[in-house]
């Protein structure tokens, strides 16, 4: 019974395809954020971690993605990304 329900539900709401419905708040830098962050993870990581990080906190997260996780993001773009995150999803 459970399996059938799960299959039906999957047909109705395929979770992994639902990622494409995620939208970030509009603001300067949004496209840069979307273009870079989605390489490795869905955009829901951003609202999930809000609104409790300040500019410094978001900058630390962006730096971790670059320095630890290896995200190929230029320094100038990293600043713009941190600005967007602090502005739209900061405390």
């Amino acid at each position: 019974m459970r399996t059938i329900l799960a299959l039906l539900l999957f047909a109705a709401v395929p979770a992994l395809a639902q990622e494409s419905q995620l939208r970030l708040r509009d603001g300067p830098g949004r496209q840069l954020v979307e273009a870079n962050c989605v390489m490795c993870h869905s955009l829901d990581y951003i609202p999930m971690n809000s609104p409790f990080l300040d500019r410094k906190g978001w900058e630390a997260s962006v730096n971790k993605m670059i320095k630890v996780m290896g995200a190929p993001i230029a320094e100038a773009d990293a600043q713009k990304i941190a600005d967007y995150l602090a502005g739209q999803y900061g405390k």
């Binding site: 539900l9 109705a12 709401v13 490795c40 999930m48 971690n49 999803y89």
Partner: protein
């Protein structure tokens, strides 16, 4: 007691769902996505969604998939496989087939490197079963004050299951593990999208690897592991947090030197001296911190929710689960008045010292009005839960006693 969670619900899509997935009522849908103390953005971005083969769970992130189990599923002693939480760090997660799957056992601290097929692992090694809680280190991170970054888990990055498979020590013996092995290292098939992303590789001390309860598990609750919980094989380290329970296992290494990698250090660290931890992972300790090891004693109310209303004169059953890092639960005490007076709850069956223990307490409030219910577990080593959060930067080991306010009218 019958709560509204016990009734069959019809979802927005018209499907009949057992077990209380809420559809129509926005207020109840919102509180089912986690406690109000979670960050507001966490609650707003959460939704119920189904991964293939899973029931609707609380979606924290789609990719990598992080889904937590709604609390009402914990009213069962064992958490159903299709409701079990899902946690990944890295988004490249292959579907692993058993035909070509081989487990490589190698390293500088063993004599006979071997490759073991799925059939050999299930046929040539004694299969044993252990009931154990699998809990993400960051369970309840979202309740940290101040909030700390990471997956903002509520109460549901946890589950209890019967894990079955070969003993890790038997697998290591087959490969001629030597006494100079200090750590046993695990790698799984999941990895980062970028080559530069550190692969999720974890190690445990040799003494824990040689414990008879530590498994290379092939099955969970009598069925093959679900894909999202590590098919075809995962490490099971009873008592310890799930960071060590590597999924989609591909290799086991025995090493005479501490394994160095991002996911061992600086990730998954707790400050030294702040928690009543017994199990030590000495080869990985530094001056300031140590790897997380066993779970601290904890409990969860599973059948009554914040703000729930009861009729005056009605008997209330408060029920839940309690667990620890492997000593076993000795007592659960319940308070009906916010912690002034405590009574012993009735404990359910002992399913083993690594399993959680169900408990319940029946009472009839003597007066109408607001009541604050709390529950507090103590383990057989005498450790108990805290009333104030022990803050740490990663939000681990949150075993603050819950306070649930109910209305009696």
């Amino acid at each position: 007691m019958q709560t509204r969670r016990d009734f069959l619900k019809v979802s927005a899509g018209g499907l009949l769902l057992a077990g209380g997935i809420r559809g129509a009522d926005p207020a109840s849908a919102a509180d089912s996505l986690g406690p109000a103390a979670l960050p507001s953005g966490t609650l707003q971005s959460a939704q119920l969604a189904s991964l293939p083969g899973k029931l609707p769970l609380i979606k924290k992130s789609f990719r990598p998939p992080n889904f937590e189990t709604p609390v009402h599923f914990f009213n069962e002693a064992f958490t159903p496989n299709d409701a079990f939480f899902v946690r990944y760090h890295l988004a490249d997660i292959p579907q692993v087939g058993v035909q070509n799957w081989k487990l490589a056992v190698a390293g500088d601290a063993l004599d006979k490197p071997v490759e073991i097929t799925y059939e050999e692992l299930s046929r040539d090694f004694e299969q044993v079963e252990v009931a154990a809680v699998c809990m993400c280190s960051g369970n309840r991170r979202g309740l940290s004050q101040p909030h700390v970054p990471g997956v903002q888990w509520g109460h549901g990055a946890i589950g209890n299951a019967r894990w079955r498979g070969a003993r890790l020590r038997d697998v290591l013996a087959k490969a001629g593990v030597r006494k100079d092995a200090v750590e046993i290292v695990f790698d799984g098939a999941d990895r980062g999208v970028l080559d530069k992303t550190p692969d999720f590789v974890k190690s445990i001390p040799a003494w824990k690897a040689m414990d008879e309860n530590t498994l290379v598990a092939l099955a969970m609750n009598g069925e093959k592991l679900p894909h999202w919980n590590g098919f075809p094989a995962r490490i099971v380290v009873p008592g310890w947090t799930a960071t060590y329970w590597v999924k989609h296992l591909t290799s086991i290494g025995a090493t005479a030197k501490p394994y160095q990698g991002f996911w061992m250090n600086p990730a998954y660290r707790i400050p030294k001296g702040k928690f009543p931890i017994v199990d030590r992972f000495v080869s990985q300790e530094t001056e300031a911190n140590m790897p997380i090891t066993e779970m601290v004693v904890n409990s969860l109310v599973t059948n009554v929710e914040e703000g729930q209303k009861f009729a005056f004169g009605q008997e209330i059953t408060l029920a839940g689960v309690a667990w620890d890092g492997g000593f076993g639960i000795a007592t659960v005490e319940v308070s009906e008045d916010g912690g002034r007076n405590w009574r012993s709850a009735q404990l359910g069956s002992d399913l083993g010292r690594f399993s959680w223990r169900q408990w319940s307490h029946r009472f009839t409030p003597a007066r109408a009005g607001s009541h604050t219910l709390t529950a507090k577990a103590t383990n057989r080593a005498g450790a108990t839960q805290t009333f104030d959060l022990i803050f740490n930067p990663a939000g681990y080991h949150n075993n603050v006693v819950q306070r649930i306010n109910i209305e009696v009218a």
